[in-house]
Amino acid sequence: MIGESALSAQPDIAAGRLSQAEYARNFDDIKRPLTPQQAPIDASRCYFCYDAPCIEACPTGIDIPSFIRKIATDNVRGAAMDILQANIFGGACARVCPVEELCEEACVRTAQEGKPVNIGLLQRYATDRFFKRGEQPFERAAPTGKRIAVAGGGPAGMSCAHGLARLGHEVTVYEARAKAGGLNEYGIAAYKVIDDFAQRELDFILSVGGITLEFNKALGADISLAGLRRDYDAVFLATGQAGVKALEVEGQALEGVRPAIDYIAELRQAGDLAALPVGRRVVVIGGGNTAIDIAVQTKRLGAEDVTICYRRGPEEMGATWHEQEVAQTSGVRIKHWVRPVRLHGANGHVGSIELEYTKLGDDGRLAGTGDTTTLPADSVFTAIGQILIADPVADGAGEPLDIQGGRIVVNEELQTSLPGVFAGGDCIAGLDLTVQAVEDGKIAARSIHRYLTR
């Protein structure tokens, strides 16, 4: 137990804990890109499988053996086109995809020798080199005169907008924030997308033409679904999961207790990392990739002790084994089988967190053991999931949009219960991954095109 004096001590939250060199090193590429010497050698490890399992494992179905062979033969443009035609966010996905659970897990070399082909890094190599050429490889079809509204400028919305623009439609994207990109811009750990890559990729996507971006226009506040349906020929909803789940324990309102995604967004937008205050002792509640991202990033900002508290064991964590490894090699402690019961503080600011040990009951359900422990905490971050905020997507005109389990209901063509309204990305059920959002946008663009030209 922590003594009263410790609990009442001033929270130790400070900026500039590290030297500029340390910040630069800590927030550099977490995976070094392949050099022109390495790439063909890595590419040569690909067997060019028939009916390749990696393609099946990729939500966007990139022809991976094909693009890798093209790298091996120094046909980098061809490789990039294989990627971008299937996935316009091929550059971002190369960086942020949990490849260890997708293509690289399926790679036959994983079965053979536990060491897959470096598909993610090779994809990055091809797209990086292609983007350097500054070429716009896509052409737009003849104008159709149709106008589509996209709500949300994240991967799903922009993927859909790009697909529609290529098909000759005019697209307006309404983005609630000051920048588009969604989680690529605001939510991904900084060391996964360095050098303003998300914005450069967006510029590339927009350069195809036919896409207008309206910033600071939030659905439900500045614009309404009914209005979009009235003014456009079709609507694509890609608003993500804008809300965060509340912690719902005593003390949750104390200062210093924040949703992880808010801090990550702040960090991503920070011009100078040294100006960003970070606690000396940080506790993170949650077990997904967001929990890892906040933990590793606060650690790399100079936090001394960072502990992830998760109510179950390592196998149940939403974070991939690779992400867990990144956390541990970054010096983050992962504490399993504990759940928060109370936050303690002084002068309105959190000072420690009381955790109860958990176990699986005889009925297989999670139960508290009654034993508790307390960790000192200058900051507590919650990363226990996001939710759909339903109000903004309500039509308002009386026609209800079907929502189940906090997700907009769609059919195989990603059409919602409302005619002419489609949805994709994190606001519908499915994998909450950038790559899945991109695929949703791609499918929705085709569905909307069929809908408009039927």
């Binding site: 040569s44 499988c49 028939y50 036959v108």
Partner: protein, 424 residues
């Protein structure tokens, strides 16, 4: 520990690994380093009237990240004066008497030129000479090298001159740039050569620079054909060595095997198919002289494992099994077997068989899982799937006991002109 000593047409060396006549053997400094590294012998880079070389001189083929899988050069013979070369030969032979030292020679095609240089070489105490009738580039334009080696009459004539004017063993280095290697080899035999060494390099253009639109290696925007060697040429050379080893007309001549030898295993293959020793160049130019340690050690360990005490225990052992196609068993049958536990589901066996061979591997999905199965009735036992399979031991070729006797094509009932029919 196996005995690796060799006696090659009277030239003794502690092991069968010699460095071939090439840049690694062109002066005292290199050769001394080679001997210190453990090489059993050296064929000194071709001595003759000094030439002037161009730059650049080498080109290489990289295959799947493996550098120098094939190698080419447009260098000529030694660019140093004959007397300098021979002085150094003499010195090194005196300092390393237990190592083989052979001098490669190339002079114009007249008896007097050969007679003169032979006397000078004999003075050095060298163990033998190798006649460079092989170089396919440069020197051939001046009537030497492969220009001689491609005309069996010239080979015989020059060999005979050399045998007449020296007591040293004469090794004739053959060019592979010829239709049938047996003809120049038989000519060497008629000229009383003690041995042949083969192969010299293959005439080649190693690549084209697509920016300058010129063949490689580039010499100020132009290129010329070079001599190709390295691991890529080994199969060509093995066949030629085997052809001579089983040729009755070549019997009695020593054979020094050359061409892409990089490891002890390569050497063991050359020795098995009829070579008496081997010569190495590209592998040393790729990684330095130290590679000989593993060549010696690896060969020795392999021989110990096999129970071979001396090289002669297995030298030439594969020659009797190297036959013409017409002597193969028409009734032998094998089929592919896939070990499903080892299979990693790459599907290469299926797609290559389906696209390019006999459509005998089925691509199935069993409960959603990929499964590749051999269709026995369709399998012709070609080996392709075994070679494309990236997993060792996953696909094997299993003999089928069909109870049929060894039958060659001449006796095969499927042959319309089979011997039984012809006898009727």
């Amino acid at each position: 520990m196996a005995d690796l000593r060799t006696d090659f047409v009277g030239i003794k060396s502690p092991n069968p690994f010699w460095l071939a006549s090439a840049p690694p053997t062109d002066k005292y400094y290199n050769v001394e380093r080679a001997f210190r590294a453990g090489w059993g012998g050296v064929v000194w880079k071709t001595v003759g009237e000094p030439i002037v070389n161009v730059t650049s001189r080498y080109g290489a083929v990289e295959h799947n990240g493996s550098r120098m899988a094939g190698f080419t050069n447009i260098e000529l013979i030694s660019d140093r004066p004959i007397d300098v070369n021979l002085r150094e030969v003499k010195q090194i032979k005196r300092e390393w008497p237990d190592r083989a030292l052979v001098v490669s020679l190339m002079v114009p095609c007249d008896e007097e030129s050969w007679k003169t240089i032979l006397a000078d070489v004999e003075d050095t105490g060298a163990d033998g000479i190798e006649l460079n009738f092989g170089c396919p580039h440069g020197m051939s334009e001046r009537g030497m090298g492969s220009a001689v080696g491609q005309v069996p009459d010239y080979v015989e004539m020059v060999t005979a001159w050399c045998k007449k004017h020296t007591r040293m063993p004469v090794i004739v280095k053959l060019t592979p740039n010829i239709t049938d290697i047996r003809y120049p080899a038989r000519a060497a035999r008629k000229g009383n050569a003690d041995a042949v060494s083969l192969i010299n390099t293959l005439a080649s253009v190693i690549g084209v620079d697509l920016d300058t639109m010129a063949p490689l290696p580039l010499v100020n925007g132009k290129g010329t054909h070079g001599g190709y060697c390295g691991p890529a040429v080994k199969p060509v050379a093995l066949r030629m060595v085997g052809d001579l080893a089983r040729d009755p007309e070549c019997r009695g001549m020593g054979i020094s095997g050359i061409g892409g030898i990089s490891t002890w295993r390569d050497a063991a293959e050359y020795l098995s198919i009829g070579a008496d020793n081997v010569q190495v160049c590209t592998a040393a130019m790729h990684r330095g002289f130290k590679i000989v340690e593993d060549m010696i050690d690896g060969l020795s360990n392999w021989m110990d494992e096999k129970g071979y005490r001396a090289l002669s225990d297995f030298q030439g052992a594969a020659v009797r099994n190297y036959v013409e196609w017409g002597e193969l068993d028409m009734n032998y049958e094998i089929v592919a077997r896939i070990d499903q536990d080892l299979c990693i589901k790459c599907g290469l066996c299926h797609v290559t068989c389906e696209d390019t061979s006999h459509q005998s591997i089925a691509a199935l999905r069993v409960d959603g899982e990929r499964r590749y199965e051999v269709i026995d009735e369709e399998c012709v036992g070609c080996n392709l799937c075994m070679y494309v399979c990236p997993v060792d031991g996953c696909i094997t070729m299993e003999p089928v006991d069909n109870g049929k006797p060894y039958v060659v094509w001449a006796d095969d009932p499927r042959n319309p002109a089979n011997r039984a029919q012809a006898a009727e």
